[in-house]
Symmetry: none
Subunit: 208 residues, 4 copies
């Protein structure tokens, strides 16, 4: 660092550079979010005590508040993330070159996959429960699940034409299908291998 660079730093001389600090901070936030998502989905927003999240994240209660002002704020952040992921999951189907049936199957697997499930469950919680903050409700309302499902209607219709899917009102069939998936997500875990099988059986609901 030459003397000119030195002058840039107006305020003070922190021991670590700001970029490093920001990154640490971001990592902590992720650590907390990960822990929180796990506990929130397992116990609901009211059943979740901040102390549980802190313990799960391996930090003190107080520290949680340096990163999130309140339990609600943390919850809301997670809901935002979950909505984004969901939107992406649905949107990503467009770019797939596979058949309609394969697309739906892929999406189903993604939703039931343990690593993604938590996000979907969180959204379920927001839709189902009265305990969640209004802000969270709003966010989910802004991007309603039905609208995601509607995106699939063209795919489904094409599948019907190709004879992959059964006849019937695409909107209604898809809605029921995803209700079933949603419901399954709320149930306690199953073994991974079983899951793989399940998907094929589930597809019977919409297959010809």
């Amino acid at each position: 660092m030459n003397i000119f660079e030195k002058k840039k730093r107006v305020k003070k001389m922190p021991p670590l550079n700001e970029q490093q600090l920001d990154q640490n901070r971001e990592e902590r936030r992720e650590q907390i979010k990960k822990a929180a998502l796990k506990v929130f989905t397992k116990r609901g927003i009211i059943g979740t005590k901040i102390s549980m999240i802190a313990k799960e994240a391996g930090i003190s209660q107080g520290l949680t508040y340096r990163y999130y002002h309140s339990k609600d704020e943390l919850f809301i952040e997670l809901v935002k993330d979950a909505m984004e992921e969901t939107a992406e999951a649905f949107a990503s189907l467009e770019n797939m070159s596979s058949s309609p049936l394969e697309k739906i199957k892929e999406l189903t697997k993604k939703m039931l996959d343990t690593s993604n499930k938590h996000s979907f469950m969180l959204i379920q919680q927001v839709q189902t429960s009265d305990e969640v903050p209004d802000k969270a409700k709003e966010i989910v309302r802004q991007y309603p699940i039905p609208s995601f499902i509607e995106q699939l209607i063209p795919v489904f219709k094409k599948g019907q034409e190709m004879g992959e899917f059964c006849k019937g009102d695409p909107a209604k069939l898809l809605m029921l299908y995803f209700s079933v998936i949603s419901g399954l997500m709320l149930l306690p875990n199953k073994d991974e291998e079983d899951q793989a099988l399940d998907v094929d059986i589930l597809m019977k609901l919409i297959r010809e």
Copy 2:
């Protein structure tokens, strides 16, 4: 209670006769249970405040404690009832003269019917949540849902032989099927008429 039993209790002369009092008491308990079931299933045991139950039942907070010593006790009582009803629902199939497929269909309707749903949802809650009292967990463990489902295996096998049901491991198929039903119960209400349709589509999961 016969008239001889009645004479046994003679503490004092109440304004109403004992039988009447007992009946009143029982009615109150039912009134409270009904209210509690509604709120518990909607908000979970932690999300439910005693004040909410009291309000729903149209009585005062304090009075609730005349009939149930604690929130947990009330919850446990409801779980007991729910288990009994569930057991009955499954057992009653034996006496039905209809075909295997019709039996399963009937059971499905019963489970998804708004008036019964609450009991099933309560059991779900016990299985899913960590917040419920240990005693409740125990009760549900004593009569595990899988054992109910096992009762249906003979019925299912018969249906397979008759060509009503698809091929495959009956235990596994039934388990998935009822997982789907359970999951659907957890979702917010749908219109009654749609429900009627849904059942037929759901049956595709196990039908030939």
Copy 3:
């Protein structure tokens, strides 16, 4: 109570009549407000712990929350009351038949009187401190003290004409005078008898 009256009561049969309950409730609120006013003026809103108010009122911490949802709400209610009292104190001068000088003197006495002082001090606190809730600031801003003082300008002018008050800009003189009074209120108590004397000396500020 005759049978017709009995029918009026739609809901239930409470042991005490509603009027009595409402009155009790109101008394409790007053009791809490009185205690709170004392502690708030002595220690400021932040320095005041709910436990102090509860102790001063002789009730449990928890009970406080049955009457006021938060410390802030309680504070705001007190500010409202104080503003009303202040407005009244100034307004009441109009109806007095005494001379301008006597009017100001009376007002001064009222403000410095121990029994009223707390209300004025509370308003001071709102104006001086950054810790008070925004709502409280708003309320005080709605009826600004200067506007109260302006009401006195005609009185003061008349006093000047009568030779009771010194020459000079009435607005400026009154503002200074009441600044002095306000300041004095913030200081720890003096003996009652001294106070009586003080007023006459203070009047020198505006007397001819």
Copy 4:
């Protein structure tokens, strides 16, 4: 510190010489004190968070503790300083050659001057509030304000003889006068120019 003392400390060879270090340290302490005084007087000791002082001083929270072991210690140090300044302000009158009235007027100006006001306000806070550390209370008790005022009694008497001051008990008149000044200090700022005028009006309290 003389040059001999300097040689006594020879632990290691610091990049800067000891004197320089000490001076830096002293400057930092002053920087912190200045910031603290500003915030303490504005928000009270409880309303003041260490983070606020650090921010005002432009340093980190943690660093504050390198210079002061606790918030209380910092507060106490400020109170000491304030008492010394006050003592000096009163003492300095002795050396003035002006008339008694001019002396009091000068003192008044000094007290209401924005740059000095903070110290006086701090002392007020110690006298008024229950939140301050006991040590601070003690320090102020050791040099009671009344004793400062008593120092002025000879001056006041001389002024009375000279016909500059009004008749009456000097102790009582001075006490009221400084109560008024103290009170005024607690009020939010006024414009500088108004202040100048105010002093003359205030003097009416004690002038003939």
